[in-house]
Symmetry: C2
Amino acid sequence: MPEKINTKGLTVKKDEDMPEWYTQVILKSELADYSAVKGCAVIRPLGYDLWQSIMDYFNIRLKALGVRNAYFPLFIPESFFAKEADHVEGFAPEVAWVEQKSKDEERLALRPTSETVMYDSYAKWIRSHRDLPLLINQWCNIVRWEVKDVKLFLRSREFLWQEGHCVFETEHETDEHVLTIIKEYQKLSEELLAVPATIGLKSEKETFAGAKRTYTIEQFMPDGKALQAGTSHNLGQGFAKAFNITYKGKDEQEHEPWQASWGFSTRLLGAIIMTHGDDKGLVLPPRIAPIKAVIIPITKASDKSSTEKVLAAAKKIHDELGKAGIAAHLDDRDEHSPGFKYNEWELKGVPIRIEVGPKDVAQDACVLVKRNDGKKQSVKITEAKKVIPLLLDAMQQELLAAARKRAQAMMVLANDYESLRRLLKEKKFVLVHHCGGEECEDDIKADTEGATTRCRPLGEDEPDPGAICVRCGKPAKYKIIFGRNY
Amino acid sequence: MPEKINTKGLTVKKDEDMPEWYTQVILKSELADYSAVKGCAVIRPLGYDLWQSIMDYFNIRLKALGVRNAYFPLFIPESFFAKEADHVEGFAPEVAWVEQKSKDEERLALRPTSETVMYDSYAKWIRSHRDLPLLINQWCNIVRWEVKDVKLFLRSREFLWQEGHCVFETEHETDEHVLTIIKEYQKLSEELLAVPATIGLKSEKETFAGAKRTYTIEQFMPDGKALQAGTSHNLGQGFAKAFNITYKGKDEQEHEPWQASWGFSTRLLGAIIMTHGDDKGLVLPPRIAPIKAVIIPITKASDKSSTEKVLAAAKKIHDELGKAGIAAHLDDRDEHSPGFKYNEWELKGVPIRIEVGPKDVAQDACVLVKRNDGKKQSVKITEAKKVIPLLLDAMQQELLAAARKRAQAMMVLANDYESLRRLLKEKKFVLVHHCGGEECEDDIKADTEGATTRCRPLGEDEPDPGAICVRCGKPAKYKIIFGRNY
């Protein structure tokens, strides 16, 4: 018999043991679960609801940008990878392959990313400058085999993501597009998830396999690790050359176009959990919460007439919120006490709890409790539908503001190597001058228990005049953030 | 260099060569494309828009039914299949496997369906009758390797689908649920896609591997082949036993629950194309069409002032429809003639064409043209936003009515074997009395170029008193439809 988890509450505090807290929150709130399939996880309905909210939000943005969704094969022929040298080298270690049933058929990989299979089709579709820009995205599953130990939402052999693959006439257009997208990612992170995100360029070492330039959004988690939450790559013309993509320009000549690719994944759910969760469990930003408010009737089995009144009031609130378009859930299970239900819905992160007891009903009122700070207020039942949207908005802003404050406090400057080492030990993210050399990055990583360059913060990476690399003393090429990461 | 298709128009008529017509419509309207990946296809943006409409429609229905979306691993351990004997036997030939990187790790299949991997998790989650019914669905990709030659949307090694996997306390609840779902499928087919669908039970031979009972919706295509468009299975308790799923009932005893699974796939897009398309191309039912109306300005390059007026009027229409929530597209490309544009948008199946020329503008009017019957009417520009929804509704109804009439004319009764054979040759779907024997079904298949049992039409499968099997003469068990199929 498989093990069945009995205890609902968290047994560890967030600031005592964040990895254990993180796993418990996910399992006990039923966001996700481990699977018997090695390296894989199950996204449970609450987790999938969050992903659906992200998809819905981003599909509207994609439409506004003229990007259309499509679907390409899961299987990538071995010969496709081989066409772009840097790309194949970057992905080779993590690719899973399909067992060949016949030696006549080419060996097929499970997509670790879809540049190659998409560009093979693009080569057929693109003929003229009138076919450009070609702006396509897909929502799909991705397989990267190197993972052995699952970290729910953060690391698994299979995960869900979106990948945009776009083609342009010029480098300039491509650069603009790549920046537009990374700003969209930042907006999604901050507006929808209430998770502050820093935009920046990756160092050459951390640039995507086959790309010319990689922009990232980095989210700084409370435990001092950064989450690379989305990337947007200017791929240059390398893939166009490799896949023979050309278009006839306005000048009637054949040209090689420029390409961009960009993606974010179910990792974003990890950022929500780590950023907002507390010792009671998940705290969902109102905009992404599938249930905005849960109604808990406070009844006594011994008092039938009072119970009926309370339940009637609870139903009335539920109906009125429904009509007002506020997703509410009435928890009228009779096998659990109100206290049990409070704990359960706090664990699941529902933004507002609505308590309705006999005293409230006597005054045609109910009590609204905010999940992020526990603040209570009594309102007339008829007013609930007006007050709740205001509370939800306030909570959304409060979560972002609190997260921003925390992240900003973790971001520091260092002018010398010893300070960099010390601050990394203190779990800070450290902005330093750097020479841009890969070896110099490797040295720092080896010397600091794994700190890597996160990004050159956009608009703030210009080196001071005459500044030198914090590590090697050569002239600094830029300012860049070092930090540990997921 | 890959081949680039130049000709936009169809070179074959639907009733002359439907398979070739079907492929041309899909390729030229840019619904989908072949891929260099053997056995696989690409769903292009227009095709994916249709699938998205289906997902959006069905997600609302799922919510109303209390079914929640989740996501389970793509990989299924070999040992999972082995647990349910009929299931493993049914799927063995079509399963693709991942190359093992280490002999210590179990061999993994790519999901041909997810009963086993989901039930393995359910066994952990289900403890009490309070956890039931457990109602979960997932939208995902599916791999079935037996396919070699792709038939776009109808047959490929990988396709997209939804699969619901639900658990109940009793057989009765399971039966009711399975029927509820197949009726939802019928409703989706008829209301959204305007494709009539017949509900029925599958014969024992055609029942899903591991199931007790399989309901199907069958759609009868104009070429005399049926499309099995969705199935809903009562799986009995076999998987519960195999995966050790038990729950504590109200009686405090452990019980084995009942299971149901159900799914439809991107095949549905094939049904839309075949049912409604004509010699000009695709005809999209308005409810599923991503663009409801296309606005074509009729301009002359030689007359600048008239051109400006026409373009201004076209933009005004576009704005007004946008404000009224009608998805319209303004085709103001100047490199193509209006006639070229008419053909292109007819090929792509847009329900309404709006023509705006100098004469129309002089009268503040435009011409509305319906895609299904070419009927034109001139309306004042200010009236367009009121008239178009009425035309869209009318067209939706007309498409369903026409399809229903065609399908009904193809459905006939046969009382003897010679009539059955003759009618199958005439590409009819034939309702006959049958003994229910598998061998007898095989005999008919061998003797009729592949006709199989489609379904026992719901509520109409009761055998006449004393009726005998059309083939073997044994007592009839039921009435069932024979026909060829995709």
